[in-house]
Amino acid sequence: MEMIHIIFLVFLGGAVLTYFAGKISKVLQDILFLLSVLVPASLFFTYVKIADSVTLPLGGIKLSWGLNHFSWLFSLIVLGLGSMAAIYAVGYMKGRERKGYFYFNFILSIMAMMGILLSLDLISFFIFWEIMTWSSYLMTVYSGNDIQRIGIKYFVFSAIGAYAMLMAIVMVHHMTGSFMIGSMINFYPNMSLSMQIWIPVLFLMALGVKAAMMPLHVWAPDAYSNAPMAYTAVFSGALSKMGVYGMVIVLVTMINQIPQGVWFREVIAWLGGITAVLGTLWAIKQDDAKKLLAYSSVAQLGYIITGIAIGTELGMLAGLFLAVMHALFKGTLFMVTGAVEKQTGTTNFTEVTGLIRKMPWTFFAALFAIIALAGIPPLGGFVGKWMLYEALITSNHYLLVIVIFFSSTAAFLYCYKFLFGFFLGQEEKEWAHVKEAPATMVVPMVLMAVMMFVLGTFPGIILKPINSGLVDLGYIDTFKHLWNSSVILNVWGDNVILQPILYYIIAIFVFFVVFLT
């Protein structure tokens, strides 16, 4: 029994046990839930080494799972955010009904995401992909009024995507006689041209749905805003990254290999750009924090898609860095919204105001996250966006730069709206009784806020794994030559001279905000 097997078994057994533990004691259920997320996470980071792989023969097919640098990077997102969200969820779910159901699906989602990342063959990839889909679906319809429409919209889109992927998988199997991802990649140059185009397109359909790429994003705002916030943090932060993860692999290993791939990348990059602009514009119109964040997620995913679709080293780096950052700040923001929702009962800006004194820690986390989202230094968002601009300019996508720039400028509007709406403004009597969220909810938020700060200040921490992941995918090592050429990395990656000045700026900013209230 290899460690990877054990991890999956712990997830699975933990999910089932947690579900039934609710019948015995609520506290036991919470503890079991935390254990079944945190134990596999720590097992994973301590015992599983890069290039470990295990197999499991099943149904005449050899399922094989293994780890490389690239999937390790995403495992970091999934398990990191997952653990944080799990701790948060214990507080968030207190007193809610159907906790067992929530925990069960939560654990299954995390397991499925890990499964996707570890899969070396298409069948287990698909299996975990579908488990992820239905467990997140079950979360989407957990509460709310309009679930019949929202849930089915989400599932139909996912199913169309998944079935497109299934078609691609069986076609690959027909051509290569194997379900291994490796053999698909090796065989790809020998395929006929139509297959060379169809296979990536079918895969991209599935991945694009999860990554909320433009024509396939329809489900996303509703689903994100309808799921419980503790889960949406994972849903938007980590689960959508599975689409990005797959996209990177498809783009790098397939589309980049053929001459026609240029057009592909161009189209996808533009789709990402349009997604970013429209998502931002939609987000501005929203009055509800959940909806706003949901649309903002769509927009942010647009940046990421643009970044990776450009396909240069810097673009990849930017996209993946943004992916990590997005997981952090969007996770935090959803958690904040959840905290506000739990304490006040609503998430509408027009109703809730002036919570800054009532919920200072929450405000602190929200502030950091918003700054990161808006791309203001010194937090992580700025680094990512800067790299993205650089990548776009160096690859001569001037028009796209304008689009992206417009989008990120417009993003300030909703950032402000969020911050102002909840925390600043008049303190009303109606909310006088509101207290700070419980510690289990505050701690993860603050931790993540701190994380954002650290990563913004020392982007090298996360850029190193990204770099080694890209090397795994076949990029040349960017560590030396690229980092030199990029202004911002040059300055912040290696030495921290500008740091005090930037802190100063940020302090003034904070002061200004506080003063405003």
Partner: protein, 493 residues
């Protein structure tokens, strides 16, 4: 060896004739005896299947006359697998309906269990027999039991559904007899293997006409598209467990018959494409009809019709992989659709209309039943890690290997439709408020156990498909190997 295939027919018949007498001794016996018989048959079937997988097929001759003179029963990996599946399901249906709707008193109970047992026996006979006229007789046994079971409830619509079924069934038997006689008039034999050996001598026009008559006749029982008018009503009006028996047993037998005719008896080259065509039409029409249904059981019925269409499509590939996929589908469909019927009939137990809206919010009152229904729904649309996924995957793989891209696209598109209507029901069960006028009914212990067994089977196959794939591979190899079948049957002395 512990027994022979003829016991599958003789024992239940004996028991059926005995049951009225036993009922005079102790009334409860009429409920118990079918269970005992089916348990014995299940043990027998498993033993024989085990034997067959190792030692090759068993050909049982009747009345001491070797084929082609007498009637023979063929128990090979293919038919044996189906027989085992049918008897297993039959046993579950029996256990489920043991105390289903308590208001059933002695006389109806006797008739219900008698008809149920004969339904299973007839279906098993269809699968086992090696003689086309004998198959006709078994089809009639099955149909008459099915008519009776459909009209079992006293409600006003059940007789109507049953009458419709009788009409279609009579027309089916007319066509079947015509086809049998056309073949007899040319080849002078009724034995399947003998016919298969001589079929190339036959006039092609007559061959095609008789094949079409066969498919028309069996298509009525197998719910193929233009001939499935009876099915939704019969499923909806029959008692809940009987719906499961129809979907899991009767239809499987009819599909088996079509497949036997297509694969073994006839050597028409176009018949495989014909199967794909009718299967595809059935699939598409049934699934689009299912999404419009307002009654739970009608929806399940249409879904069942659609699944049979998919099975025919998979058989129509004509390859060993296709047969494997089709068998896998049949297995999963039998298990899953039974579970859906079982749990569904408790979800709408006390309602007269059986509308889908009446399942609203049942999860609070019937948690286990609801959970099992959800598992069944997830399994039938092919979500991993439930059983349905593996069969869907194998269908897709088989289609890709036959280069049928269009079929794949259509099948997957239809799957999305299927997904929508099942999810709608699951959503209603879990996330809607209960309607005021519905009264949940706790399932009886035996019903609960039956449902749990089926749910466990779905999970078992989902997590460990190797539990069944070995048998399925052997069975599909047996079906494809036509020459071996003929040799096995006709080499008896």
């Amino acid at each position: 060896m512990v027994g022979t295939p003829v016991l599958f027919i003789a024992i239940p018949l004996m028991a059926a004739f005995l049951m009225p007498l036993l009922g005079m001794i102790w009334k409860e016996l009429v409920r118990i005896v079918p269970g005992l018989v089916l348990t014995y048959l299940l043990i027998l079937a498993i033993n024989l299947l085990d034997h067959v997988l190792v030692h090759g097929p068993i050909i049982e001759v009747i009345a001491g006359w070797v084929p082609p003179i007498g009637i023979n029963l063929v128990f090979n990996a293919f038919s044996g697998f189906l027989v085992t599946l049918m008897i297993f399901l039959g046993l579950l249906v029996w256990a489920y309906s043991y105390r289903f709707k308590r208001n059933v008193d002695y006389e109806p109970a006797l008739k219900y269990f008698l008809m149920l047992m004969m339904l299973i026996t007839g279906s098993v006979g269809i699968v086992l027999t090696g003689d086309i006229f004998n198959m006709f007789v078994f089809i009639e046994i099955t149909s008459i039991s099915a008519y009776g079971l459909t009209a079992f409830y006293k409600g006003r619509n059940s007789a109507e559904a049953s009458f419709k079924y009788v009409m279609m069934g009579s027309i089916a038997s007319t066509f079947l007899l015509l086809a049998i006689m056309i073949i007899y008039s040319q080849l002078g034999t009724l034995n399947m293997a003998d016919i298969a050996r001589k079929i190339h001598l036959m006039n092609p026009t007559l061959k095609i006409v008789s094949y079409i008559f066969f498919v028309t006749a069996l298509g009525i029982e197998a719910e193929i598209f233009p001939l499935n008018g009876w099915a939704p009503d019969a499923y909806a009006e029959a008692p809940g467990p009987v719906g499961a028996a129809f979907a899991g047993i009767v239809v499987k037998a009819a599909v088996y018959a079509i497949i036997r005719y297509t694969y073994t008896i006839f050597d028409l080259s176009g018949s495989f494409n014909f199967l794909i065509l009718i299967g595809m039409i059935t699939l598409i029409i049934a699934e689009t009809a299912a999404i419009r249904q307002e009654k739970l059981k009608r929806m399940l019925a249409y879904s069942s019709i659609g699944q049979m269409g998919l099975v025919l499509v998979a058989f129509g590939f004509g390859t060993k992989e296709g047969v494997f996929a089709a068998l896998f589908l049949m297995l999963n469909h039998a298990i899953t659709k039974s579970l859906l019927f079982f749990s569904g009939s408790y979800l709408v137990y006390n309602s007269t209309e059986k509308n889908i809206t009446e399942v609203n919010g049942m999860s609070k009152y019937l948690p286990i039943t609801s959970l099992l229904f959800a598992i069944g729904a997830f399994a039938i649309v092919g979500l991993p890690p439930f059983a349905g996924f593996w069969s869907k995957l194998s269908v897709m793989t088989a289609a890709a290997d036959s280069n049928m891209i269009l079929i794949m696209v259509l099948v997957l598109m239809v799957s999305v439709i299927e997904l929508v209507y099942y999810l709608r029901v699951v959503n209603r069960i879990y996330f809607f408020k209960k309607e005021e006028n519905t009264q949940p009914q706790k399932p009886t212990v035996n019903a609960l156990v039956v449902m749990l067994i089926l749910g466990a089977a779905i999970l078992l196959i989902g997590f460990y498909p190797d539990a069944v794939t070995g048998i399925l591979h052997k069975a599909s190899a047996t079906l494809v190997d036509k020459g071996q079948y003929i040799h096995n049957v006709l080499s008896l002395k």
